[in-house]
Symmetry: C2
Subunit: 224 residues, 2 copies
């Protein structure tokens, strides 16, 4: 079968140090900022000329955590991990070609020693993820609010209350508190886990966050 070769044009830099805790889709944690840093061969400023006219961008990128493994059916975590659906009926990472697709909000274009970087929000990419393409989001073709979202629809408002004790909050700046809250409220723990006493650990930026999770609420125990 004919093979095609693609190369990263950029990589993402953000606080998502591990897969656990990354929102399951883009846009769900809009408080979280990421930087798109172009690879050396793609730092010519002309490549992004006029990109600031667009508020949102598509990223086509590579899942790197799955080592290329995939299976014909997957068990979406949102369905409790029991029901199997076809891989092409999901956005699962465990798919042929390991390609990811995410829409992000373009916040700023910043000069840096690595050339111009795009500061975006809402990305659901692990730190260091290779990006193969960046395209403008065209609402007149890409926005189809009336589309039928299948089984994913039922879970879109699954937001938990997040409690962070004052003595922990006082050690953090407000941006970090906002980002951590927006990640935890999406309920990162596996759906099949229901032990309210269990302590989960999540790495974000340079923080190690420990928390418990009940049906409606996440309680932070420690952030180091």
């Amino acid at each position: 079968m004919k093979e095609f070769t693609i190369i990263p044009v950029a990589k993402i830099k953000n606080g998502y140090k591990e897969k656990f805790g990354i929102p399951r889709q883009s846009g769900l944690a809009p408080q979280v900022k990421s930087e798109i840093i172009f690879e050396k061969d793609f730092r010519d400023e002309n490549l992004i000329r006029d990109i600031e006219q667009y508020s949102h961008l598509w990223l086509i990128w590579g899942f790197t955590e799955n080592n290329g493994e995939w299976s014909p059916t997957v068990r979406p975590p949102k369905l409790g991990g029991n029901k199997r659906v076809g891989v092409f009926a999901t956005r699962s990472p465990y798919r042929p070609n390991s390609l990811g697709l995410s829409v992000v909000k373009l916040e700023e274009i910043r000069k840096s020693e690595d050339g111009r970087i795009l500061v975006v929000s809402g990305a659901d990419l692990l730190n260091g993820t290779p990006i193969f393409d960046i395209k403008p989001y065209l609402p007149y073709v890409d926005a189809i609010p009336e589309a039928n979202g299948g089984f994913s629809e039922e879970f879109k408002n699954d937001i938990l209350k997040v409690s962070i004790p004052d003595e922990i909050k006082n050690k953090l700046n407000s941006e970090d508190i906002n980002e951590i809250t927006s990640i935890l409220e999406l309920n990162p723990k596996p759906q099949y886990q229901s032990d309210e006493e269990r302590i989960y650990g999540l790495s974000y930026k340079n923080f190690e966050i420990k928390f418990r999770c009940s049906e409606k609420e996440i309680t932070v125990i420690e952030i180091e």
Copy 2:
């Protein structure tokens, strides 16, 4: 630089026999149907289990007409072919990695001797184009109607009147007339061409379509 290898999981089959006349984005000619035919290694029905729960699908595919050529800036035809913008600020085919992104409507899943095929509408892919990934469209993350569409916004309703003389219509079935009309009304001719006497030729399905084009109207002269 690290290279990644991707392989086609499917290819598209439709009436777009040449680049000229293909709508510039997906969804613009919703009357046009295409078939997604899976490659032999991806014909296991499990791969598309429950996909019918979604009304729309994303296709990530490969531009094959450009021979991998790209340039840092491109001149979008919609801007008259004069203004240069960065390749990442356009959906131009002439881009690094030659990846295309299109949303299509899932019309039907059909059994065939090539396994199950997905019948979709609104595709803007040339016949035979390799498809690398198929993902469900998730309106709660993918639909951002309020996104700012930059310079593409101004041109979204650029629809022409299409006149097909009765003696030509009488030789065609209504489906073909609808498809041909929906392609021509999008004004396939280059924006910088303004010669109203010029006759353009377009291949679609097994038809050779000849037409003239004024500022507001397309007049079909011959369909063979």
